[in-house]
Symmetry: C2
Subunit: 417 residues, 2 copies
Amino acid sequence: MKQSELFTKTIKELPKDEESRNAQLLIKAGYIQKEMSGVYAFLPLGLKVLNKIIQIIREEMDSIGGQEISLSALQNPEIWQKTDRWSDKNVDAWFKTKLASGAEVGLGFTHEEPLTNIMRSYVQSYKDLPQYVYQFQTKFRNEARAKSGLMRTREFIMKDLYSFTVDQKALDEFYELAKEAYLKIFQRLGLGEKTFVTFASGGVFSKYSHEFQTECLAGEDTIYVDYEKKIAVNKEVYNDEVLAELGLDKEKLKTVKAIEVGNIFKLGTKFSEPLGLFYTDEAGNKKPVIMGCYGIGPARVLATIVELYNDEKGIVWPKSIAPFTAHLLCLGDDPEVKKQAESVYQSLIKEGIEVLFDDRIGLTAGEMFADADLVGLPYRLIVSKKNGDKIEIKERQSANSESLDLNQVIKKIKENV
Amino acid sequence: MKQSELFTKTIKELPKDEESRNAQLLIKAGYIQKEMSGVYAFLPLGLKVLNKIIQIIREEMDSIGGQEISLSALQNPEIWQKTDRWSDKNVDAWFKTKLASGAEVGLGFTHEEPLTNIMRSYVQSYKDLPQYVYQFQTKFRNEARAKSGLMRTREFIMKDLYSFTVDQKALDEFYELAKEAYLKIFQRLGLGEKTFVTFASGGVFSKYSHEFQTECLAGEDTIYVDYEKKIAVNKEVYNDEVLAELGLDKEKLKTVKAIEVGNIFKLGTKFSEPLGLFYTDEAGNKKPVIMGCYGIGPARVLATIVELYNDEKGIVWPKSIAPFTAHLLCLGDDPEVKKQAESVYQSLIKEGIEVLFDDRIGLTAGEMFADADLVGLPYRLIVSKKNGDKIEIKERQSANSESLDLNQVIKKIKENV
């Protein structure tokens, strides 16, 4: 894409009311805009990153048998009353609104109830199970205080997968599969090294749930990490008994701040029983379906990546989710140089390399460099009179650049993506 | 995809409270589910169709310079007050809700206000224009009476593009470009023959707006069509004066029911002035940005296609948006036949053909045929003992089938997609 055609620009001043590093950088670089407290718009570059994160998650959910759907935001109180989650006394995150008729409806903050209800149309027999169903859908949560930029917002896309199985064993097996898929997702997103399977509070049907916590100073959670075993314990369940049960040595644990980037939870029959999702087993007995749920918030993942990967100049995107792989800068107004840059741009596109071409006129080299650092694409390529036929290539985090032929540039980028 | 792994099944009974043909067929075939009146969930097959429609629209919007973004559903009253559209007296479609603080917010029924407000950060000079910005975003409309299935719902995805230009001439030029792109979209969606550019009421800044009306008995609108000129006039502006102005002959017009599948509208300075979206022209004068808006509802398009393309047995999808191109049926339980069907399935996938493989066991041939007709994929392929090495191929609407080799089947499908 040509930068002259991108409607966003980098913004010089920091937004006043925005204290979090992720939102500051993302707004300054033109990835997002704040619509109101806890509510953000995704602009072209931001939407590209978000969609890349979503696609990685989608691929891994498909690989464990997930089937994608899309439920509604508007929620029918009837089904939530069955699980006792309609009342504001039990759930304080509801946004509620009214139909023209005066009837109250809610905006989904999660989707166990509607999906469990829908599955009743398709699950009658053990032959109809297991099923793994997921969506990327907007959740609304009436946070008393939205904070931390994209980390905790009032409206956000969530990937929520729900598993429907015949028994605890089948749930346990899928749960482990989902855990592995999650680790693979965070690996692909560039968060693998810093993300830990974390024991957190469970429910009636399981002693623990598991969170995926990414070590980060900006995190709201406190976890105790065993780096050797690559697991952690959330503060909420941290005590001697739990440590003993998990075989963890208190002395080896490090207390760190972390961001919950995902969580998985064994629901058992918590939703299937009250909502009437039963199946008939091989012997003809009617049994409640056993459920699990598996969540990741793509925008929170995006915020976490920005919190972890930035420097004083701007964002430093991992290659897997950068909006473009290369930032091509054309320095100066020399017509020959412009022609050369345009030709390099077309060659890179032809090679399937995603490139943002800074073809804007009237900017100094310094302004272009500052913008490129702020936007944070993995490779900066410079075409200029000084460089002649060569292209100056520099990785975002590197202090050193080198001058290469176009073919060498293409080879280098392709080898490292 | 293997049908045995698809969680949805065809449903025998018609939903009682569902009067529209599109929702009846889509629910029976497992494409969608009704969550409440005017609110539907998209299930795996339905989401696939919806996404194909979205992708076609996206490609055409990109081809005329559109930049994709995603705004929020939650709306800040402040900016809507500036255009006098916050009050329920002026806009009766609002869903409103409250933040935990007690402050009222709305759910966007359209997005002129928030986008115009955001553009202020990026548009200062004539050099920053034109810009064409679009999104696929969920709109909420508090319809007094939701009806006609997916045609008029309370929550739906909308593609809304907004153009920002320096003057009327630039708007007019882009408007014509958008009109052509829209016609191309409806052509690709299989609605080209029945969709007419329709003159409808305009506003302060233009005498007419243009709707894209698809002739259909289930439509809510009445239009007067000139089939030769391929244009129409909406009942709301139909009078002798308008006909004379448009050079239309009353005698040649046919009165038909139609569905509004898209509309484009010249907004002028209606939003830019009150919201303060101004630019400085070459002479240094401050001027309001001239805007236009361009909408298509992908789910309404989907409903329209189902209303137009169905028979007593089920849906008849156009090839461009069918969830799968071929429905492969394996008849009988013979292990050799099963092996053959599996091999055909793998070969089709390898050839890049999207195929739904009905590998379910225990169904009669009649049940499989009925399901295939209801689901409505373009090609039905049968592998059975009777057919031997050959594959029986039948187009959904054809009464005749033929027996072909696998290679011939692949060739036939690829030639016609």
